[in-house]
Amino acid sequence: MQVPILKQGAYLIATVQSALTDDDLKQLRDTLVVQVSKVRARAVIVDVTALDVIDSFATRTLRDVAHMIKLRGAETVIVGIQPEVAFSMVKLGLTLEGVATSLDLEEGLAYLNRKGKGPEHHEVRTHR
């Protein structure tokens, strides 16, 4: 299951559509790390609203994505972690320390715009 990645302004937005296998997660990580500089994006948003499970492997991979993107000079925001997913992650002992998170895509975009990651000359529009 490939994760579609769209460029919107200065951002790359990866929207997870359904459950991901470990290989899917690794592929997403590798693609984002390459694409972020190829398209000269300043930030990456990973929308995980559709995920009903974020287990230890997914958590580790998302954290790796954020750290690798940072080394590439951009920022990552994970958006859309569902309440029961957050509950399970904490019970399991998993955290996303050092990784920016936002409630949803809209909040994630607002967060990046506030941090001045957005484009200088044109607006980033959300579909809401």
Binding site: T21, D22, D52, S56, P83, S88, L92, L94
Partner: protein
């Protein structure tokens, strides 16, 4: 078996990473039949994911068995993760937070125990591991 079975058990063979997703989806679906709230469905699915991944990572292949169980009117789901892999040399050590032999996060088993209501592990070094966990409807 200690508990009455409500329905036929579901067995999911585990030998590659796509099976992890399949096992947790089947577990979530079965668990929804005993009326667990959505938070507990996510908890059960997450626990299954961890147990199935341990099979793929350490034992190569094994099986997840999912059962709806009844204990004198109390309903719940039982998940058995069984493999005939190398076994765990020191179960007590493996149950400590932060311990791992494969360089992973090492939170697998203690985390699964925290997620579920009941947790049992039998591991014969050289013969395999069976982890049984249960979540009861409150």
């Amino acid at each position: 078996m200690r508990f009455a079975l409500i329905a036929d058990e579901v067995r999911v063979a585990i030998d590659r990473d796509v099976d992890i997703v399949s096992a947790r989806q089947k577990g979530r679906e079965l668990a929804s039949h005993c009326g667990l709230p959505s938070t507990d469905l996510a908890v059960v699915a997450t626990a299954i994911s961890e147990l199935a991944r341990n099979i793929v990572r350490y034992a190569v292949r094994g099986e997840i068995i999912l059962r709806l169980v009844d204990d004198h009117g109390k309903r719940g789901i039982e998940v058995v993760a069984a493999d005939d892999g190398p076994g765990i040399p020191d179960v007590a050590l493996a149950m400590q937070d932060g311990y791992s032999t494969s360089g992973s996060l090492g939170l697998g088993l203690p985390g699964v125990r925290r997620l579920m209501d009941e947790f049992e592990i039998i591991s014969d070094f050289g013969k395999g591991t069976t982890v049984t966990v249960r979540k009861w409807k409150r």
